[in-house]
């Protein structure tokens, strides 16, 4: 059976700096996975390399709903069903969220569900005041994350990578985001949450928690992995990773 996401031996570097060093991950449809890892371990790089950002020299395989996306352009990957919620969403002065969602709909002429998803997600996240403002411009950290969740709802992807979607959110907003992720859970989509906090995992039943250290996944398990990390930090993994390389 096809998985939502299959990543095999993903490697990425910038100049001499190797960031991803053989990254493997499989997310079946209908599952929500979490990736946790220390600062600088390459979590965002994984997300960007999967999306096709051109800064990196990348190799390996990544399949979105069975389609190999390595070698595709960024927009082709998006249209293949990949969605990235950015850790640091880019500000686009002078372009409103409504204009963007309109363009998203134009880019996917076969998908007739945009209007409905725009209406529903907007209502759910109370996006009305933000839709006619410039994308991410002058938004608070939490509002930017909300805007990313809105675009996720509008895009209706097959794979969603949520890079620190819970950072900077107040308690209620974390619950709201978590509830939305739980609602996303569907046989049509696989979700990856990159997070530093086990807090959000209290509201989401992650099927798997992966620990990423120094450019690769070093441990995968159930939700209990997050509790172990919460108690002991990354020190043991980092020592192991250092002696392995």
């Amino acid at each position: 059976m096809t998985n939502a996401l299959e990543v095999h031996d993903l490697r990425a570097s910038i100049g001499d700096l190797q960031i991803l060093k053989g990254f493997d991950l499989v997310v079946p449809f209908g599952e929500v996975h979490a990736i946790m890892g220390p600062n600088g371990s390459g979590k965002s790089t994984f997300s960007h390399v999967l999306m096709g950002k051109s800064d990196y020299e990348a190799s390996g395989s990544a399949k979105v709903a069975g389609v190999e996306v390595m070698g595709l352009s960024v927009d082709e990957r998006a249209r293949a069903g990949l969605f990235q919620a950015f850790q640091y969403p880019t500000e686009i002065p002078g372009v409103t969220l409504d204009e963007l969602t309109h363009e998203m709909a134009l880019s996917n002429p076969d998908d007739t569900g945009f209007d409905q998803r725009i209406a529903e997600t907007s209502e759910r996240l109370s996006m009305d005041p933000f839709r006619t403002r410039s994308i991410n411009l002058g938004l608070s950290g939490g509002e930017k994350k909300r805007s990313e969740m809105y675009l996720l709802g509008v895009a209706d992807p097959r794979v969603a990578i949520l890079d620190e979607i819970d950072s900077g959110l107040d308690i209620d907003a974390v619950r709201q985001v978590a509830a939305m992720v739980e609602d996303l859970r569907d046989p049509q989509i696989g979700v990856v949450i990159i997070t530093h906090y086990s807090r959000i995992l209290r509201y989401i039943n992650a099927d798997k928690v992966h620990v990423m250290v120094a450019g690769r996944i070093v441990e995968s398990g159930g939700p209990e992995v997050a509790d172990t990390l919460e108690a002991g930090g990354y020190a043991d993994y980092q020592i192991a990773a250092a002696s392995a390389s």
């Binding site: 960024v74 686009i92 002078g94 880019s107 895009a155």
Partner: protein, 399 residues
Amino acid sequence: MTTSPALGQRDASWMAARRAEAASKVPALSMPSTREEIWRYLDLDFDPRLDAFAEAPGPAMAADAIVTGWKGEVISIVDGFATDASLPLVTETSEDELLTKETDLFVAAYMAFSPGAVVLSGDRLATPVLIDVQSTGSNTTFPGVHIDVPAGSDASVVVRMRSASDEGSVVVPRLTSVVGDNARLNLSVVQDWNYATRSFARAIVTLGRDAGLTLAEAGIGGLLSRLHLDVDFVGNGSYAKIYGAYFGEDDQTLDYRYFMNHIGTNTRCDMFLKGAVEDDALSVFTGLIRIEETGQKTESFQTNRNLILSSGASAQSVPNLEILANDVKCGHGSSVGPLDENQRYYLMSRGLTPDRADQLQVRGFFEQVVSHIPDDVVADWVRARIIAKYVTAQREGRV
């Protein structure tokens, strides 16, 4: 439609005298030198044919979207002549006030050959006015507009400039305005010459006490289009917001020389210009904030941002400050660079092709200034023209 009489026929005696004097000076004046800072960066190696001035208007151009979409009064100035002969022309007093500080070839030629500026004042400014300035042939033309905003009143004027002849023409437009105490002028200037026209526009706005100016300029056309603007903040408490959007392609040169002269106390100015150039186009912005000794408590800011869309294009951005008072706030910012990679990446990650992503980015770049054009029809027209230039260049692989 009434036709205006030929140049000179309606001249008051003072006008005839001045015209004769200026005309006698013109032959001795040569083209300005690009060694002078104010003419720097330009290619002035062409014959301005200033004595080939239009002696009568040619056939007027057809109405277009801006004219038909306009709800108020439309005044046409064809080859320098107001087509409505009943319009008042400039008088000696109003003109004298605004005689410029400089006498270069183009100023002298304007004095010598202009049929006289159309004067807008009083009741004529009660509703928004569109001035349709046309250059129809290959003659050199000297259109003039003077806007006299009475104290305490509000005026809204759009000046749009266009040309018809492919043979090339030179236009020397002149726009002056006195904004009375506690009055407001909302002025939009849409420069849409064809690519054979060279234009040397001079504009001077004088602000009275607590008077306000909002100026939105869009520079789209012209082989060489220059706008030399002075805003004189004479009255205490006067203020201005100045927005500019320009887009050059092909061999166009778009040249802006903006001088903000803060003379009264407590005056305020925000200037924000954004431009893009592609192909071999050149844009020039030189801005000066000058604060006189009397200009205490001035707050004045200028920002100029430029997008370079192809490798052969270039933008000069030179903001300057000259501050003689000690209790002021001012600042300037300027940038020249390509489209933003992160914005392109973000938009593409939402499924937009690189071309659509860049179109959106270009549109957004200009939106921050175009959104300040008060008339929606004019604003939409400017938006459409700018994006059409860019999309055509994308399609032809020029950007």
